[in-house]
């Protein structure tokens, strides 16, 4: 470390103090986070947090562990932004997390029972006063004819003597305390859940209030039996049991929703690969994705390399200016660029057809083939400056002696290019080409912004378009419309990951052999 060489021993207290302050800040933040985690009952997260904090302190307070001091921040970022995200995606891929299956089982039962409550037809609206008798809450209601009725959870509604306010609403009765609206709010969960039987017969329904001011008689035709874990529709007699797939089903397999989130094993993977309605379009999309990613890399690299060769001529005037102009599309926000291109490519109103092509009606975005060409062209425009920059750097790094030696040996310019410059450029840019391929394989933005995946493939029974690549297909299947399926989407993502990883590994192997030959 350079600092150690230059700084005398006596000045070390300053940086040490700084280190302690920074660590204290980290610890304070961590303590705050841990206190929240404990109150929320997230003990797993708490333990991880605690271990991480102790580890960080140990590493930075220790006099050794120099490598760890460098690696730790990276590891933490890796864990938070990569490992956790991937792990969570894998976890979701094995669950039925989707529309109708986003809550827990207990919550689903609560929701089903609450949705089944319906107001007794033609029943009255009762002004209600919430009263308390000892620890029991009850409702004091005024019926239409002015008589007062009181009831508790275990005591059906019955007539009672009461005192009334100016508007004729019963507000107090002997033996009970009347709750003000403020008092009700303090126990609002109990008041909201309170159901007072109207009579001894359950069929007459129960009296409930939602706002603490008016009460209504509700009847429910759904009953939950905790002992057998079944829901019974009391009107039809149908019994629903836990079907094992995160919902209650009747004996014919008809499910009622909301359901809940459960693990479903490999179900998402098998349905992605076995359902013909998904598989057919999926295979076509995979082919186009490969074509799109490959052509994107080849075209951008070709154009970038061509231009950088052009500007590699020493003594060319205004070279820097040309280079700056060439890099402009790269400096321009890609989102904006893609959107502007989408507008310019419009068939009847776009700049390209109207001005550049003199009113030609080229269906850039609406014809299946032209839309593919359009997407590739826009991606070429967005992508070549990067390749231009990279290859310019690589060309400049080609040792002058090697070129000179080739010339001395009598090589023509083309041969110098083919046998000296190109291999050297390729060796240094090959990893970039592979990562560019992986990037374009999942280049959601350009597809989404330029064509939206369209034009729609009307022969397919799922909403897929002719320019959809895998990732935009996943997006459409999983995140649009009313039937979201996050589990299936995660399974798709993992399949995409496997595809990209396989291709990348093979490519890296290939480049390694390239280097060895070199």
């Amino acid at each position: 470390m350079t600092v150690r060489d230059k700084a005398p021993v006596t000045t070390r207290t300053g940086p040490l103090l700084f280190k302690i302050v920074m660590l204290a800040l980290v610890d304070a933040g961590a303590l705050f986070a841990m206190s929240i985690l404990v109150t929320k009952g997230s003990y797993v997260a708490f333990t991880i947090m605690l271990l991480a904090t102790v580890g960080i302190n140990a590493i930075y307070l220790s006099k050794r562990a120099l490598p760890a001091k460098y690696i730790t921040p990276g590891v933490i970022f890796l864990a938070v932004f990569q490992v956790f995200v991937i792990g969570y995606t894998v976890y979701i891929a094995f669950t039925n997390y989707s529309t109708g299956h986003i809550i827990s089982k207990g919550q689903a039962i609560e929701a089903l029972l609450s949705q089944s409550q319906s107001r007794l037809p033609d029943s009255a609206q009762y002004p209600v006063t919430v009263v308390r008798d000892g620890s029991d809450l009850g409702f004091l209601v005024t019926s239409a004819d002015g008589t007062a009725l009181v009831g508790f959870a275990d005591e059906p509604l019955h007539k009672v003597e009461a005192s009334y306010d100016g508007a004729g609403k019963a507000v107090a009765t002997s033996g009970t305390t009347t709750l003000s609206f403020g008092d009700i709010l303090a126990v609002q969960q109990d008041v909201f859940d309170l159901a007072i039987p109207v009579s001894d017969s359950a069929a007459d329904g129960t009296l409930r209030t939602q706002d603490g001011r008016s009460a209504f008689i509700y009847v429910s035709d759904l009953h939950y039996d905790a002992a057998t874990d079944t829901l019974t529709n009391t009107a039809t007699g149908v019994v629903y049991t836990d079907g094992g797939r995160g919902s209650f089903v009747d004996s014919d397999g008809n499910e009622i929703l909301p359901g809940w989130q459960v693990a479903v094993g490999w179900h998402n993977f098998t349905s992605a690969l076995s359902e013909t309605s998904i598989l057919g379009p999926l295979l076509r999309v995979i082919v186009w994705t490969l074509v799109f990613a490959t052509l994107s890399v080849v075209l951008t690299f070709g154009l970038g390399l061509g231009i950088s060769l052009l500007f590699d001529q020493r003594g060319m005037r205004g070279r820097t200016l040309y280079r700056i102009i060439m890099v402009l599309p790269y400096a321009f926000p890609a989102f904006l660029g893609a959107l502007i291109w989408a507008g310019m490519l419009s068939k009847s109103f776009g700049f390209i057809n109207q001005v550049l092509l003199g009113g030609a009606a080229v269906p850039w975005l609406t014809d299946p083939t032209m839309a593919k060409v359009a997407v590739l062209l826009v991606n070429l425009w967005l992508g070549f400056p990067y390749m231009f920059l990279v290859t310019t750097g690589a060309l400049q790094a080609v040792p002058e002696e090697a070129v000179e030696a080739a010339r001395m040996d009598g090589a023509r310019p083309w041969q110098v290019m083919r046998y000296v410059k190109m291999p050297l450029v390729l060796v240094s840019t090959a990893p970039i080409l592979i990562s560019s391929f992986a990037f374009n394989f999942n280049n959601f933005n350009i597809i989404y912004l330029v064509t939206g995946g369209g034009p729609r493939d009307v022969s397919a029974s799922i909403p897929v378009g002719h320019t959809d690549i895998l990732i935009s297909l996943v997006y459409k299947v999983a995140f649009t419309g009313q039937q979201r399926d996050y589990g299936l989407a995660s399974a798709f993502s993992i399949l995409i990951f496997i595809l990209v990883a396989t291709i990348s590994i093979i490519s890296f192997r290939k480049t390694k052999t390239l280097e060895e030959i070199d």
Binding site: A52, P73, G100, I102
Partner: protein, 417 residues
């Protein structure tokens, strides 16, 4: 060991990630619930309602919420959210207990929200009669009301009164009047490459082909797919497309339609109340008319109803329901919401008062024919095929065959789901 530049960066990074960890794991530290221990002497002021609203209406609601706090002691925390992600965020957070108590939304969310079990029923009680019928119908899902409606939106026809003095009596009359005015576009309606069935629905209903039939309670019945009755409509649509008059074109997007009307190049414009302000600001002499029908039957647009939902897992449901039914359901609040968003109030009293403005009255009158947009999940299967089929018909595909394929695709998707 000395503090080098790198270890300084490292420490900052650790601090940042520690913060991040805590932010991730405690995203639910917003003060949603404060229902204290069940003692009667707890002051009511500890109750705080968290309400998610779109940015447009946040200020108006914050103002009325402070009045509510003064009256009841319940603090209302208005959180401005992005309308595009509000529904998804709400569905994901409601079950974890960290969502808001109340969320603002539209009635066509109902299918998803109830299927996911994240909204609680809202009892309007006898006050239901105070709302426009279409609003109450829309707030009702499978016989239960889940939403306190505050606004109703529907399409109508905007007429440039400097070009055409009299309202059109029928679709053909509208085109004739528009042509007589000598503008390039007698009538303009937004479509797009994938069609726009929402904006064509009034004409479709005029041919007696709604998407779904309704049961006796007025609720949409997914088993009664009536889309198939639309062969006549499809034929008519084809006659307005590229092989016919080309009055309805997939080339005309929302932006283009807006531009043509605002620059005086279109006489009639089928659009919603959200575009009225732009037309008035552009100096157009705007009159709002009912939608002229291509047949003898009324052209019924979809009505979109806006409202408020209660989180099923809120710990403050009494306060939330009181805020909705007894406060947001009052004329003053509904008028305040109208003032900020320009959506016709769902409460009759407020709607009648505001309808003294002829532009609002135009939409209100056009809305008398409106039907709620179906909120049933099956509607999702319709949307994905509907617009594309209409776009094909406009672009010259065989209308009857295309419409039959549309009906089949939708039927297959519904029975398969």
């Amino acid at each position: 060991m000395l503090m080098t530049k790198k270890s300084l960066v490292a420490t900052v990074a650790v601090a940042a990630s520690a913060m991040l960890l805590s932010a991730c794991s405690s995203s639910d530290d917003s003060p949603t619930t404060t229902s204290a221990a069940p003692t009667t002497d707890t002051p009511a002021a500890t109750t705080t309602l968290t309400v998610w609203v779109d940015a447009e209406r946040a200020d108006a609601l914050a103002a009325v919420a402070s009045d509510y706090e003064a009256a009841t002691g319940i603090k209302v925390d208005i959180v401005s959210r992005d309308n595009a992600t509000m529904k998804d965020d709400f569905m994901q957070q409601a079950g974890t207990g960290s969502g808001p108590d109340v969320v603002m939304g539209a009635h066509d969310w109902l299918g998803e929200l109830t299927t996911n079990g994240v909204v609680a029923p809202v009892e309007l009680g006898d006050s239901a009669a105070n709302y426009l019928q279409v609003a109450v119908d829309a707030a009702n899902y499978e016989g239960t009301v889940y939403m306190l409606p505050y606004g109703v939106e529907n399409l109508a026809v905007l007429r440039n009164a400097d070009l055409v003095a009299e309202p059109a009596t029928s679709f053909d009359d509208m085109i004739a009047k528009g042509n007589a005015a000598g503008v390039e576009y007698p009538f303009i309606v937004q479509q797009g490459a994938d069609g726009d069935p929402y904006h064509l629905y009034p004409f479709q209903t005029a041919f007696g082909a709604p998407v779904f039939g309704r049961d006796e309670s007025g609720a949409y019945d997914p088993s009664q797919l009536e889309l198939g009755n639309g062969a006549q409509f499809a034929t008519w649509l084809a006659s307005q497309g590229v092989n016919g008059t080309n009055i309805i074109s997939t080339e005309i997007t929302g932006d283009i339609a807006t531009d043509k009307f605002l620059t005086g190049q279109a006489a009639f414009w089928l659009t919603g109340p959200w575009n009225v302000k732009a037309a008035v600001d552009a100096g157009i002499n705007v009159v709002v008319d009912r939608i002229p029908s291509p047949t003898g039957d009324p052209a019924q647009p979809f009505a979109g109803v806006k409202g408020f939902f209660v989180n099923q897992y809120s710990q403050n449901k009494v306060a939330a329901n009181d805020f909705l039914v007894n406060y947001l359901g009052t004329a003053d609040v509904q008028k305040a919401l109208y003032a900020s968003g320009g959506v016709l109030p769902a409460l009759k009293a407020a709607a009648d008062e505001i309808a003294s403005d002829p532009l609002v009255k135009g939409f209100k009158d056009a809305g008398e024919d409106a039907v709620p947009m179906p909120a049933i999940p099956e509607m999702g299967q319709v949307w994905q095929f509907w617009g594309v089929a209409e776009a094909q018909i406009l672009n010259g595909a065989d209308p009857v065959a295309t419409w039959e394929k549309l009906t089949q695709d939708v039927q297959t998707a519904i029975s398969g789901s």
